[in-house]
Amino acid sequence: MLADLLIHPRLVRVEVGLNVVVGFKVVPDETLIKVSSGKLDMNVAVKISTYDKNAIEEAVRIKESTGGKAIGVTVGNTDRKTIREALSMGVDEVVAISTQYTDVLGTATAIAEEVRSMNPDLVLFGETTTDGSTSGLGPMVAEFWGVPVITFAKSIKLDGKVIRAERSLTPVVEIVETELPTVVTVTGEINSPRIPTLRQIMESSKKPVRTKEFKSSPMASLDSVEPYLVQRKRIVLEGKTEEVVQKLIEALRKEGAL
């Protein structure tokens, strides 16, 4: 093998393992949040924010195909069971930064600090979180770190230090290219996150979790969270299908829906 390499050095591309940092957020499971007497019950079980799971999956795939490392970073709620889920998906270690309430700028500052000290090839995030939905974290970290950012990536290809991504911008797809290091935010289309096996879950409990504290005074404060309720019209149209369809169309016109 080694001899082959020496004789035909240009036939074999020696991939350097890529180091990927993936940010993920622990959020309340939105499917469990209930509204009762006009108030939101947010005290529910937590999970990894939906698209952050896609970011984790992508980080693990890149790590596996290049033989590098995938390091998770999470800020805010540092629920250990949720962190272990990231580890069992294949992340090698997690930096868990606990904070009081912080705005996205605070989160970006905390993550940028970690990223600078780790100096990875690639930083991945989900396109947006299911709680805050700012979509701002990726771009902010890129700015602080001083590298390019690609948002809404529905696929990424790596070729040495060159990254090519398809950006999903309804209704068009934009193909962009840049050089590592870079920050990428991914959409749900990019992959289907794996379901870890029990044995991987067992293994994950041996992987390192580094915990840290971060203090920041948020630039923007959260005043209140209120339910967004959609009142149903409760109109029932009865009769023969043909007639009802006609009535439905009229009703929708009247509402300005058509």
């Binding site: 499971d29 079980a45 069971k81 379901i195 029990l198 044995r199 879950i201 067992m202």
Partner: protein, 402 residues
């Protein structure tokens, strides 16, 4: 033979979590498999827990567990049409509390994590087989080999069935129907009420209950599977009627129907097999005499014992000697109470409690408070005679409960 862990606990309800905590405290490596996304997501209960066994497992649980209200008022209510008889017994105590299972179970699962239990959610056990001196558990997340399984997978006991030691029949179950309704109880913050209601689940064998939570009430009732089958009624309609008759208004936060084991001491299923111990509902451990339903404290108690026996078995390096579990259970409150409840359990099958007596009680009191004959015993006797019963059969029926 190499194993993946010392113990696999199947099911992350109160029974499974208690078993896992108690085994982990003894230093065993424990993996807990729960099919729900979190503990409490699949657990239904009218929510009154007698906390003695929880306090043995977690001594400072009263300070930390998400308990709703201490039950300081026991109310009995007999309804017959628009007449009703109510009496309330009040006593300040902290023996039992109303709880919401979604919160309590979730909390206990965090306790388990903190005790070193490895919990795996969204993990459904789909099969189990004996292999290499242990049990191989089959799941949607691959297989897992362990020398010991603690089964806490609830009333339908799938693991026991996969291993071929259990078959289910309809007479072994009751149906429990429950709603949580948003309405703030008119009680001081540190008091709670438990109410038993007879005569509202028309013609069905069983009584109804109401527990006050902090900001809501849990209402529901249990009925025998056959009575639902025979009368061809929908449990969802029954509970709506029940809620309306109780006069409770508010947003229904949760509706659920769940099977409850109905076996009694004599009818208990196998509680152990080599490499297997069965706890909680899966082992039929439930006390229901028409007045109280107790399963949570039994699940916690049996789970705690199973965890301790697991440690003993590992010390003995012999995971087939699970018969030790049965004998420890017999020496504990779990079996003592199930045995003692056996009589009232039989009383529960007596239809007179749901059909005749509520009517008789109302009629007797009715004549007591109207102008006319006010000799209680005499009126009662006459009224009973109409049902073809005497005072002796009344006394005999009531003695079932004492």
């Amino acid at each position: 033979m190499s194993f993946d862990a010392d113990v696999a606990v199947v099911g992350g309800g109160l029974g499974g979590l208690s078993a896992a905590i108690s085994a982990a405290k003894e230093g065993l490596s424990v993996v807990l498999l729960e099919r729900g996304a979190y503990s409490g997501s699949k657990n239904v209960s009218g929510g009154r827990i007698y906390v003695h066994s929880l306090l043995k497992l977690i001594p400072d649980a009263l300070e930390r567990a998400p308990l709703e209200r201490p039950i300081t008022r026991e109310t009995y209510e007999v309804r017959c049409g628009d007449r009703r008889v109510t009496f309330t017994f009040q006593k300040r105590n902290r023996d039992s509390f109303s709880v919401l299972r979604a919160k309590l179970d979730d909390w206990l699962s965090h306790e388990a994590e903190a005790a070193g239990v490895l919990t795996s959610f969204d993990t459904q056990v789909t099969g189990a087989r004996r292999e290499g001196g242990g049990i191989t558990v089959e799941t949607n997340r691959g297989e897992f080999k362990v020398p010991l399984v603690i089964e806490a997978d609830g009333v339908t006991a799938p693991t026991s069935r996969y291993l071929g030691i259990r078959r289910l029949t309809p007479e072994q179950f009751m149906v429990g129907v429950k709603e949580v309704v948003a309405t703030k109880p008119e009680l001081p913050e540190d008091e709670g009420e438990a109410k038993v209601v007879l005569g509202l689940t028309a013609g069905l064998k069983g009584g109804g209950f109401l527990y006050t939570n902090r900001e809501s009430v849990s209402i529901g009732f249990t009925v025998k599977v056959e009575s639902v089958q025979e009368k061809l009624v929908k449990t969802s309609e029954l509970i709506e009627d029940y809620r309306e008759s109780l006069g409770i208004e508010g947003e229904v936060l949760e509706y659920s129907a769940h099977l409850i084991p109905y076996m009694g001491y004599r009818g208990l299923p196998p509680l152990y097999a080599p490499n297997l111990m069965v706890v909680g509902d899966a082992a039929g451990m439930l006390i229901s005499d028409g007045f109280v339903i107790r399963g949570m404290d039994l699940a916690i108690g049996s789970g705690t014992i199973a965890g301790q026996v697991a440690a003993k078995l590992r010390e003995m390096n012999n995971f087939t000697r699970t018969d030790i579990y049965q004998s420890q259970l017999e020496d504990s409150f779990v079996m003592r109470d199930i045995k003692a409840a056996w009589k009232s359990f039989k009383g529960l099958s007596n239809p007179r409690f749901y059909e005749v007596y509520p009517q008789v009680i109302c009629d007797v009191l009715d004549s007591m408070f109207s102008v006319g004959d006010r000799r209680l015993l005499k009126v009662a006797q006459e009224r009973l005679r109409k049902e073809g019963l005497g005072l002796t059969s009344l006394a005999r029926d009531l003695l079932w409960f004492t």
